[in-house]
């Protein structure tokens, strides 16, 4: 499918998200946003600055510090004609809202025999590295991905973030978008000014290669791209595949890539145990078994609460050097 061109226009990851939100708020009067300090403060990450000035406090609504309450309010509003976008400041607060998300939003369409819809978007953050310690650094997208009835989006680039956000807002289901808070300002890339959407459930090959597939999500896409660069120096051609959405998952794209390369490492910033890497690795192992020359390997966050000290925190997240070493092993380059 042909996608619009950016014509040299670049935005940060955070600004791409804001642009998508602003365009949808302009397009559809039923869309509104709610969350803690999202209006004048523009969120604690200053991502939404300027939106309340354009759309007013009724559509960019500051809430009490009551995550379950305003998430549930959004569920009820979504069921009755509005299209809310909930802002949960830190993904770590997912535990607070999980009943309203997993037992209410995710189940209402099914439990009602298809009569009631919950067209809402839940935006929250993921990603360590901000020296924020164990309760403000986790990547908990696996929690949401476990629950049927939710769609889960983990955009890696500004381009993807804008297009996927707009699809999420127009979707008639509850969609959870996890934004890596470390990328809001540091990642910049081409973003068309056009009104474009990227369908949920379509992976993207971020770099083509022939010797090994690096399946990577969110900020790990950049870790994988950096590793791929290092691998090219030793003449290993790595393909980087970004699923972009975990639910629905573009299984075929992962399988096709590994059929071509015969080797795979799955890299994700969620905890490794029972994590996203396990699900993606099993998809590859089942779908490309006869093409594999090595076991499918996984790299997730270490199975420890994220520590505060930089000397420790940095150890918990996969890095390009680790990916390089593992890829060399799988390719017999040690």
């Amino acid at each position: 499918m042909s996608m619009p061109e950016s014509n040299g226009r670049e935005l940060t990851y955070g600004d791409a998200i804001k642009e998508a939100l602003a365009e949808e708020l302009r397009r559809d009067p039923r869309v509104f946003m709610l969350g803690e300090d999202i209006a004048e403060a523009g969120t604690t990450f200053r991502v939404l600055n300027g939106l309340v000035e354009e759309f007013g406090p009724e559509r960019v609504l500051d809430t009490p510090i009551s995550e379950p309450g305003f998430t549930g309010l959004a569920v009820g509003a979504a069921m009755t004609g509005m299209r809310p976008i909930v802002d949960i400041m830190f993904g770590d607060f997912s535990g607070l809202i999980m009943d309203q998300v997993a037992n209410q939003a995710a189940k209402i369409h099914y439990m009602s025999g298809g009569k009631l819809n919950v067209p809402m978007v839940l935006r929250t953050t993921m990603g360590a590295g901000r020296r924020s310690a164990a309760q403000h650094s986790q990547s908990l997208h696996a929690w949401y991905s476990h629950i049927p009835g939710l769609k889960v989006v983990v955009p890696a680039t500004p381009y993807d973030a804008k297009g996927l956000m707009k699809s999420a807002i127009r979707d008639d289901n509850p969609v959870v978008i996890l934004e890596d808070k470390m990328m809001y300002r540091t990642v910049k890339g081409p973003v068309p000014a056009d009104d474009y959407t990227i369908p949920l459930g379509v992976a993207d090959v971020k770099r083509e290669g022939t010797d090994i597939t690096l399946v990577a999500t969110s900020s790990m896409v950049y870790v994988a791209l950096e590793a791929a660069k290092l691998l090219s120096e030793i003449e290993v051609s790595a393909e980087v595949v970004d699923p972009r959405t975990l639910v629905p998952l573009d299984k075929q794209a992962l399988i096709e890539s590994v059929k071509k390369t015969s080797r795979a490492i799955v890299i994700d910033e969620g905890y490794e145990q029972y994590g996203v890497t396990a699900e993606l690795a099993s998809v590859i192992a089942e779908g490309a078994f006869y093409y594999l020359d090595a076991p499918v390997k996984r790299m997730g966050a270490m199975n420890v609460p994220i520590p505060f000290s930089p000397a420790l925190e940095d150890l918990t997240i996969p890095n390009p050097q680790q990916v390089l070493e593992m890829a060399k092993t799988l390719c017999g380059k040690v």
């Binding site: 009490p64 379950p68 309010l73 009820g76 009755t80 009602s112 025999g113 009569k115 009631l116």
Partner: protein
């Protein structure tokens, strides 16, 4: 069924049930009696279906609490919203659900309100504004508040009513919802059905302080009524609902009531948490159907014959609905993966 959800003339501010009486005519009271009888007899059949192993799972009966659902829903328009609880059959019926589709849902049949996927604890019916019974205690407080948010934003004049038991007063979500409802003056009325027991535990063991004061602390308009007296319930509900509809903000209504039967149909031996004498006292002296019939008879608005007539006609209607549901088809296997996503 045609009289369900009929429009009740708006009531002005009043303070007690007797003053309300002239505004609600004989036909309205008889309709409310019929609605209560329908719930009572529906629930008796549910119990029988369970006892005879014809119903899968469990059900939480509303017998004894009928006056609350009926008194409140009589004050609602058809397109007003309700959210309900695990003990929700009464709310659904009072809001206008049909008997046959209710039974179909309880028996897991395709013709049920949720195509057999929800069951007793999850009946939803958007045609009557029922946003769903909710099996998480207190779980719908924010949903009802969100529906009220939509009403206000869309300017459609609808009110949302959130039914919950006193057990939900242990859930923080209820207070978060009241706080937002009051902050944003949302048209939602929280109806607390205090049937004394959080499952098998008396509320004295779980709930400190005053139930009503909890809502008052947020600035909600509150009322406290005898939940066995449908006149009192209706009068107070109508006042709070119309107040919310006018845009004057949310309210909390505390209804004192009693669960005549167990926490669910399988809760037979209850002596360890409440006495037979206590149950007998409520059933004998505080039965909502009897209280209304007695009052109408005393006030020469009806004679005993009419209540018997209503009951036998409802009996026949309910029996036919059970028969229909028992013979209705189950969903086809491919239904299992339908409606996970819209």
């Amino acid at each position: 069924m045609s009289r369900v959800q009929k429009r009740v003339r708006p009531l002005t501010e009043r303070t007690n049930a007797d003053q309300a009486a002239p505004e609600v005519d004989r036909e309205d009271w008889l309709h409310m009696y019929e609605q209560m009888a329908k719930i009572r007899i529906f629930e008796e059949h549910v119990n029988e279906l369970y006892q005879s192993a014809k119903m899968p799972g469990l059900a939480h009966l509303y017998i004894g609490e009928e006056a609350i659902a009926v008194g409140v829903c009589q004050a609602l328009q058809r397109d007003d919203y309700i959210t309900s609880t695990h003990r929700g059959h009464g709310h659904c019926l009072a809001k206008g659900a049909s008997l046959d589709r209710m039974f179909c849902e309880l028996l897991g049949r395709e013709r049920g309100y949720c195509r057999g996927k929800g069951g007793s604890m999850h009946i939803a019916d958007q045609d009557t504004g029922n946003l769903g019974a909710n099996a998480i205690v207190g779980g719908s407080a924010a949903i009802a508040t969100g529906a009220a948010f939509s009403s206000k934003r869309l300017g459609n004049g609808r009110v949302a009513v959130c039914f919950f038991g006193e057990g939900a007063l242990g859930q923080g979500l209820v207070y978060e919802s009241m706080n937002m409802a009051q902050l944003w003056k949302l048209p939602v009325v929280f109806i607390c059905e205090n049937n004394l027991y959080n499952e098998y535990t008396h509320h004295h063991e779980t709930t400190a302080g005053s139930m009503k004061a909890r809502a008052e602390a947020f600035g909600l308009m509150t009322s406290e009524v005898n939940g066995q007296n449908v006149r009192e319930v209706h009068e107070s509900a109508a006042r709070l609902i119309e107040r919310a509809r006018r845009g004057d903000g949310p309210a909390f209504m505390l209804c004192h009531t009693y669960r005549f039967t167990g926490h669910h149909v399988g809760d037979i031996n209850r002596a360890y948490y409440r006495t037979k004498d206590e149950e007998l006292d409520w059933k004998t002296n505080r039965d909502p159907l009897k209280l209304l019939a007695d009052w109408m008879t005393e006030n020469k608005m009806a004679d005993a014959g009419i209540f018997q007539q209503i009951e036998s006609s409802v009996q026949a209607e309910v029996a036919a609905a059970v028969e229909y549901a028992l013979n209705a088809p189950f969903p086809a296997p491919d239904e299992v993966s339908l409606h996970v996503y819209a």
